[in-house]
C-alpha cells in the first residue's frame, strides 16, 4: 500500500510548566479550538490557561445517582410487594425505611461506576493510537517535558503561522506530525 502522508498537526515541546502555561494562554487567545496539552503531572491552573469549559462529568454522576436510587426502590417494591410478597417481622409489604440501605448503596454504586465510565468516555479513552506517538521527543512527556499540540483540523490552523506562534512562546522544539 502506498504510504499516504497527511499532516495531523504541530507539536511544541517546553522544558517547564510555566512556559507551557504562557503558551496555552497565547494559543487560547489566538482563538484555536482543536488543541491539547500534555504534562507528566497535573498542573494547577492549566485548565484556566487553556480556557477549558466545566466538565459534564458531575451531571453524569448526578443522573446516575438518581437512577440508582430509583432502580433500588423500584426493585425492592417489585420483589417484596408484587412478585413475591413475604411478611417480614410484621412490617408492611413495601416499607420505605427498610429500602433505604439498598437505595443508598445502589446510588453510590451507580454514581461511582458512571463517574469512572463517564470520565473514560469524555476523554475518548481507551485509545490505542494517537499521532503524538510518532514523535520520539514525546516519550519524555511522562518524565520531564511539557507538550502542546495544535491539530491541522483547527479552522485557524496555518502551518507556518502556527509554528511561528509556538516558537515565539519559547518552546525548545516544534515538529509537525503526520496522522
Amino acid at each position: 500500500m502506498a504510504e499516504q502522508t497527511k499532516l495531523w498537526g504541530v507539536l511544541a515541546e517546553f522544558d517547564n510548566p510555566l512556559k507551557l502555561m504562557k503558551a496555552s494562554e497565547a494559543v487560547r487567545d489566538a482563538g484555536y479550538t482543536k488543541w491539547d496539552t500534555y504534562t507528566p503531572y497535573p498542573v494547577h491552573g492549566l485548565e484556566k490557561a487553556m480556557g477549558l469549559k466545566d466538565s459534564w462529568l458531575p451531571f453524569i454522576t448526578l443522573g446516575a445517582g438518581i437512577t440508582g436510587t430509583a432502580v433500588a426502590i423500584l426493585m425492592q417494591w417489585w420483589m417484596n410487594a408484587v412478585d413475591y410478597p413475604i411478611n417480614i417481622s410484621g412490617k408492611p409489604m413495601w416499607s420505605l425505611p427498610a429500602n433505604i440501605p439498598v437505595a443508598f448503596e445502589l446510588t453510590v454504586l451507580f454514581a461511582a461506576l458512571s463517574t469512572f465510565g463517564g470520565m473514560m468516555f469524555l476523554n475518548d479513552l481507551p485509545k490505542f493510537y494517537h499521532p503524538t506517538f510518532r514523535s520520539k521527543a514525546f516519550k519524555r512527556v511522562t518524565t520531564d517535558r511539557f507538550f502542546l499540540a495544535i491539530e491541522a483540523a483547527d479552522p485557524r490552523f496555518d502551518q507556518a503561522r502556527t509554528e511561528e506562534l509556538l516558537r515565539s512562546m519559547h518552546c525548545t522544539d516544534v515538529q509537525s506530525l503526520e496522522d
Binding site: 510548566p17 510555566l18 494547577h44 491552573g45 466545566d54 425505611p97 427498610a98 433505604i100
Partner: protein, 408 residues
Amino acid sequence: MSAHHKVEIPDEQLRLGSGVSKLWIVFLLIGVVALGAGYFMGQGSDETREQFFRSYLQNFSYFLSLAVGCLFFVLIMRLCRAGWSVSLRRMAEIFSMTLIPLALLMLLIIPGIHDLYEWSHADHVEGDKILQGKAPWLNEGFFKFRLVFYGLLWAGMAWFFARGSIRQDQSKDHKITNRLEGLAAPAMFIFALSVTMAAFDLLMSLYPHWYSTIWGVYFFAGSFLGAVSMMVLLFHFLQRTGVLQNVVTAEHFQDLGKLMFAFVVFWAYIGFSQFMLIWYGNIPEETMWYKARMIGFGEGGWADVSALLLVGHFIFPFFFLMSRHLKRRGITLIFGAAWLLVMHWIDMHWMVMPQLHPAGPSLGLMDVLCFLGVGGIFLGFGLWQLGRQALIPVGDPRLHESLSFENA
C-alpha cells in the same frame, strides 16, 4: 502559577477593625441580661422553672456543640497536618476557647437537675429496676463531678491548642507546630470519648429508660456541621468589615462548603442508622423515643418537626450544596450556612423538648431569652478573644500553602 507566590498581606487586614472589636461588650451584656432575666422569671413556679431549665439545656447544648465542633476542626486539621485550612484555623481556635465560659455555664445545669432528669428523683428510682441498674452512673454526685470534669477538660484542651498557636505568632517557632500535631492524636481520642459521654449525660439521660449507642456520634455530626456553618458566616461577616480580603478566598469557602455538604450527609447517615435499627427491632422500650416524635403529623405535632428535619436538614441542603457555583458564591453559601445553623437548632429542640411539650413544639419567651443568653455570652467571648490576636496564625509554617491554595 500561583502555587509559590510570596503573598504579602498588610497588617491591618489581619486585625479586627476598631468598630467590630468593641461589639463584644454589647453581645456579652445582652447575654448576661437575657440569661439573668430568664433565670429570674423561671423562679416564678414549678412550671416556669422546668421551662427555663429545658430551654437553657437546649440552647446551652446548641452553643456547646458549636464550640465542640470548632475544637474538632482544630484537632483534625492539626492531626492531618492540613495546609489549606491554616488561615481558617485561628477562627476555630478562638471559638473553641468559648468552652471556657461554657464550662462555667455548664454549672447552671446543676440547680436544674431535679427539673430535668428523672433519674435524680430517689422516689422514681426506688420502684424502677432499670433506673436502679443505671444508678452507679446516673446519680447526682457523679453527674455533677462529670459536668465539672467535661468543662475543665474541654476548656483546657481548647486553651492549650489555641495558646500554642497564638504564641507562634510571635516566636515563629516551628517546634510548636510539631508538638501540637503530635498531641492532636491523643487529644482526638479524649475528645471522642468525652463528647460521647457528655452527649449521653446531658441529652440522652433526659430519657433514662432509653438508650442509643450511636447518640454521641449523632451529636458530634450536628456539632461539626454547625461549627463549619458558623465559621462561614463569621468569615463573611469579617470580610464585610474590610479585613481578610484575599486571605480567605472563594477557594476556602468552597472547601468549607464541601465540609458542610459532607456533614449534611454524615448527619443524615447517622440519624437514619439510629432510626432504622430501632424501627426494625420494634421493641417498645426503644421505639418510645421515636414514637414521641412521630405523632401529630400535619397537625403541628412533633412528626411535623421530624419531617422538617428530614427535608430541611438533609434533602434540601444535600442538593443545594452539591453545586460548585453555589459554594463559591458568597451570598448563596451564606444562605446555606444560615439555613443549616437554624436546622441544627431545630434538631436540638427536637431532641430536648418533646418530653416537656408532648403535643407539639411550642416556642416561648424562655426559648428566646436562653438563646440570647447563652448565644450572647458565646459570641461576646469569641469576639473579645478575636480582637486580641491576629485573625490568622501568622507564625504558622504552612500559612503560605493556605494563602495560595487553589481547588484542583
